[in-house]
């Protein structure tokens, strides 16, 4: 975990994790993030409109997500977002935490390999 991230930020809430995960691929607008989260989780995560924009707002306030200029010809009303370096670090820290857990689970044979 990066040193300047407070330890008690983890674990991330699923909505935050999915937003950061979606933005790690490049800038997106809100609707695109929601679609990405849905497809990345095979439909299991459907971010509600309030949840999504509230989390985006708070991620922006914290500086983990930054506003991004819309590409040429895009609907000007759509706000675009990109992930900040701090956001990248936070996402990585969370994924590492999960990875460690998964590794631990495997080593205890709590997680059988899929056939």
């Amino acid at each position: 975990m990066s040193d300047d991230l407070p330890a008690d930020l983890l674990p991330l809430r699923p909505s935050v994790l999915h937003i950061l995960l979606a933005l790690s691929q490049g800038p997106l607008h809100g609707l695109g993030i929601a679609d990405d989260a849905e497809s990345a989780s095979s439909g299991a995560v459907r971010l509600g409109p309030g949840t999504l924009y509230r989390a985006l707002g708070e991620l922006s306030d914290a500086g983990w997500v930054l506003p991004h200029d819309p590409p040429e010809g895009a609907d000007p009303r759509r706000k675009y977002y990109r992930i900040s370096p701090d956001g990248q670090a936070l996402l990585a820290a969370e994924l590492r935490r999960m990875e460690a857990l998964v590794r631990e689970g495997r080593s205890r044979e709590a997680l059988p390999e899929r056939a």
Binding site: L9, P11, R13, G48, P49, R54, E58
Partner: protein, 904 residues
């Protein structure tokens, strides 16, 4: 689906819950997301789920944002609360809400009982609130209603009443006081349609009427100055309801012609829809211009210049800075001037100004409205109190049953506050769901009320619909219920000491002394309220029975009537007598009819009265005159209605216009005005006709003048041949069932003269029944409330006894093992409950004895503290208590000693 889906009104409404800044920044994109999901969801069910989850999400977000909780931080919570988060983005309150909801679903009996009990209470209150609000508080649909006043000239009795049209002109002529003065005169007219003649509520109104109220027509225009004079073009403005329902919302209706009472009026506008909500009395079907007074006949036109006729309701808008007091002072001056200019008509006749916010319908109606509203609201509040006390009881029992579970939660680290929050959320959920159900009940309730037949003047007064104010009131009330009655058990659980709970359990007694006392007090309240309501019902029912058993004094079983209006039928006044004779002849010729008569009113009915001087009689009031109810009747009247001619004679064919003026009086009048006999041959005169002395030719037996059971009132009868009424009842006596001639009676009316409207028809037994309708309604409403109260009280008693039995299972088992008989055990358990019930009975009786005299005004033939009713009430209550306590008590007697020991 070709049309792009829309996020929907509900969604946008819910986004208003979000903080302003958040909404401005994100609302549009949020809607876009929902629409995107809707467009990719196949099938109506999938779309409904998208919508529902979006609504929930917005509400959750709004709650979270307002509570200023951050989501991005750690998800760490007290362990027991995170156990069931299912990974969703929810914070404490919403998580607990879901948890509470699941718990309620898992205990359907508790949930259903709680919701039902509270919903009944809320429903009763919402219904009453809707009615009372509509009568007294709902804002008037006018611009700045606080500047509006009603101005009333006194009636001959000195009570504020309607004004004459010339007086309206005088009021409007006072300078510097008003921004506008208007006059309106309600009436009924007959409209000719393709399907025959229908009767409409109408009102003649001045061109200033809409401007004064600040109303603008929804379509077309209101009357102009040219419509304000007799002889101008007759114009009509129809109500929005009439335009919609009778004109098919035809945009071309303006410019059309209405045929009213045989006259024509051009439709110039449609009134705004907001007026329709006030019901038919307050919003007529059609407003007619002053130039359309020809519709009402020659007298309606002549009336515009007559100071003796008071037909107009005057409304005015105060000029800025003018107070009601200043307007009143100016009107006092006007009254003095009128008294000086027209001493015969206006001496002592005051003019009174009322703010429209103080007096909404009429000064004489205001205090009964307020009084009735208070009584209704009081009864409804009692029922809510009952419902809440039972709900509180339920929550207490549930709290006790859950003590161990809650203690474990505390042991696992949940704070007292967290446990209290969970319990509070449960009771809030129940009460809010109950509130929603209660609103549904209120919709049903107000619908039923609107269908209760009322006298024409009051039609529609009770039909005020459930609106946003009622919804807000109900939800507020249910929130309050959930908070007040959920708070005590919740706080108790929060304070509960783990050790205490475990200790109590080991003792086999899970209830402290305090809880037993609270439960006892709740049952005392329930029993006492039930006693009051049951006693009230009993008194009203006995009073109704006494009224129904009363001899009304006229033939009820073999009489039928039909009512028509000669003036509305377009008959010129000079032909009234001829047409009336034709109607009488046609009615008398019907098969099965043995006698026929005409009368301006039926017994037991409001009607006109006249200020009368009786020769040789000086009334105590010192004014020299008495106000007497009167009826104009044809010669066959006493015979047809079965009245006895006690002295002298009935009217005959010789009592004609131009002949000697004659009257009949009833028995009460004969005894009061001629106590030493000699009524026949005595003389009376109307104050309005100083030179026309009338000779009494007969005395007939008395009938109830306005209502059954009234104090005996003197009455005057005029011959219809000399005073032909413009609106008349044809009454017939039949050999067989009177109901069979009603339809034939209806048919002769237009048969005699096309265009004559049928304003009502029926049998006199039906008319008698209508007179009892208000009493029946009272007994039914109060009876329904009493049954509800008894049901709730018996639930309370049942709960107390079952609970006592459960608490004492081991003790009862030991006693059974030691040889106590079942009867003994039963008695032991019941005795405990009996004390509580008896305290309730005593409290209830005391309240009843205190409150009953308030009913004396509406009771007939039964004392407010009638011992039969009071004894019956106690018997009913004790009986219900026996049953309610008996069921669990018998269970106690069956306790098996072995089981009893095992409970430990």
């Amino acid at each position: 689906m070709n049309r792009p889906p829309d996020a929907g009104r509900i969604f946008r409404m819910l986004t208003r819950l979000l903080p302003e800044a958040f909404r401005r920044r994100h609302a549009e994109e949020m809607a876009a997301l929902v629409e995107h999901r809707l467009s990719t969801s196949p099938g109506a069910w999938a779309r409904a789920r998208v919508r529902a989850s979006a609504w929930m999400d917005v509400v959750r977000t709004a709650v979270g944002l307002h509570a200023n909780r951050r989501m991005v931080g750690a998800a760490t919570r007290a362990p027991w609360t995170t156990l069931r988060t299912q990974g969703g983005d929810v914070d404490g309150w919403t998580r607990d809400l879901g948890h509470a909801a699941r718990r309620l679903v898992a205990t359907p009996f508790f949930t259903l009982a709680g919701v039902t009990i509270v919903a009944l209470g809320i429903g009763a209150n919402a219904t009453v609130f809707s009615v009372v609000d509509g009568l007294l508080f709902r804002p008037l649909p006018y611009t700045e209603p606080e500047a509006l006043v009603s101005i009333y000239q006194d009636s001959d009795d000195g009570e504020p009443a309607l004004s004459s049209f010339p007086a309206y002109r005088d009021m409007a002529g006072v300078e510097g006081l008003f921004d506008g003065v208007a006059a309106v005169s309600p009436t009924q007219v007959s409209l000719e349609t393709d399907d025959g003649v229908v009767s409409l509520y109408a009102a003649y109104a001045t061109a200033s009427y809409f401007p004064v109220l600040g109303l603008t027509p929804a379509r077309g225009r209101w009357f102009g100055a040219g419509h304000d004079v007799a002889g101008g073009p007759p114009a009509a403005v129809v109500s929005h309801r009439f335009w919609r329902e009778s004109m098919g919302a035809d945009p071309d209706a303006i410019g059309g012609i209405l045929r009213l009472n045989g006259q024509s009026a051009t439709v110039v506008g449609v009134a705004p829809e907001a007026l329709d909500a006030r019901g038919a009395v307050l919003t007529p079907d059609v407003w007619l211009s002053i130039s359309a007074t020809v519709v009402g006949g020659g007298f309606q036109v002549a009336n515009l210049e007559r100071r003796q006729d008071h037909w107009y309701d005057v409304k005015a808008r105060l000029a800025p800075g003018v107070t009601v007091a200043r307007a009143q002072a100016a009107m006092d001056g006007l009254a003095e001037r009128l008294a000086a200019d027209f001493p015969d008509l206006n001496r002592g006749r005051g003019i009174t100004v009322f703010s429209l916010t103080d007096v909404r319908v009429h000064p004489q109606a205001q205090s009964p409205l307020v009084g009735g509203s208070v009584v209704l609201a009081g009864i409804a509040a009692l029922v809510l109190l009952l419902a809440c006390s039972n709900f509180g009881n339920l929550l207490l029992v549930r709290g006790l049953a859950r003590s161990p579970e809650l203690a474990v939660r505390r042991a696992m680290g949940a704070s007292g506050g967290a446990v209290a929050r969970l319990l509070l959320l449960e009771s809030l959920l129940v009460s809010l769901v109950a509130g929603a159900v209660g609103i549904g009940l209120a919709v049903l309730g107000t619908g039923l009320l609107a269908r209760i037949p009322l006298p024409t003047e009051a039609q529609g007064l009770l039909g005020s619909p459930v609106d946003s104010r009622v919804v807000a009131f109900s939800l507020g009330l249910s929130l309050l219920t959930g908070l007040v009655f959920g708070l005590a058990p919740a706080l108790r659980a929060a304070r509960a000491d783990l050790a205490d709970v475990l200790r109590e359990q080991s003792r086999g007694s899970s209830s402290g002394r305090g809880v037993v006392l609270v439960r006892g007090a709740l049952v005392v309240v329930q029993v006492a309220v039930s006693i009051v309501l049951v006693a009230g019902t009993g008194l009203l029912a006995r009073s109704l029975g006494a009224l129904a058993g009363l001899d009304p004094g006229f033939a009820v079983d073999r009489t039928a009537y039909v009512r028509t209006s000669l003036s509305q039928g377009g008959v010129p006044p000079e032909e009234y007598r001829v047409v009336l004779d034709e109607l009488l002849a046609a009615a008398g010729a019907l098969p099965g009819v043995s006698a026929a008569a005409a009368a301006s009113r039926l017994p037991m009915q409001d009607g006109s009265s006249t200020t009368t001087l009786v020769e040789g009689y000086e009334p105590r009031s010192g004014t020299g005159a008495v106000e007497l109810p009167l009826a104009a009747v044809s010669p066959g009247h006493p015979e047809t209605l079965g009245l006895a001619v006690l002295e002298g004679r009935a009217f005959g064919p010789d009592d004609i216009v131009g002949g000697e003026g004659v009257v009949m009086v009833d028995e009460v009048a004969a005894r009061r005005f001629w106590p030493n006999g000699g009524a026949v041959g005595g003389r009376v005169r109307r104050q309005a006709d100083p030179d026309a002395w009338l000779r009494v030719v007969g005395v007939v037996s008395s009938v109830p003048v306005e209502e059954l059971g009234e104090a005996p009132r003197p009455m005057l009868y005029f011959p219809a041949s000399q005073y032909t009424p413009s609106t008349v009842y044809l009454v017939v006596r039949t050999g067989g069932d009177p109901a069979s001639v009603v339809s034939a009676l209806r048919e002769i009316v237009p048969g005699v003269r096309g265009g004559l409207p049928v304003l009502g028809a029926g049998t006199l037994s039906g008319h008698l029944g209508d007179g009892l309708a208000a009493g029946r309604l009272g007994v039914r409403v109060l009876g329904a409330f009493s049954l509800l109260a008894l049901l709730l009280a018996s639930l309370g008693i049942y709960a107390v006894v079952s609970f006592g039995v459960a608490r004492r299972t081991s003790e009862l088992g030991i006693r059974a093992a030691l040889g106590a008989s079942r009867e003994r055990l039963t008695r032991m358990v019941v005795r405990e409950a009996s004390v509580t019930v008896l305290v309730g009975v005593v409290v209830g009786m005391a309240l009843t004895l205190l409150a009953a005299p308030a009913l004396s005004g509406v009771l007939f033939g039964v004392a407010p503290r009638d011992p039969v009713v009071l004894a019956g009430t106690v018997a009913v209550m004790v009986g219900v208590a026996q049953v309610a306590a008996g069921v669990p008590a018998r269970r106690a007697a069956r306790v098996d000693p072995v089981v009893a020991f095992r409970v430990e």
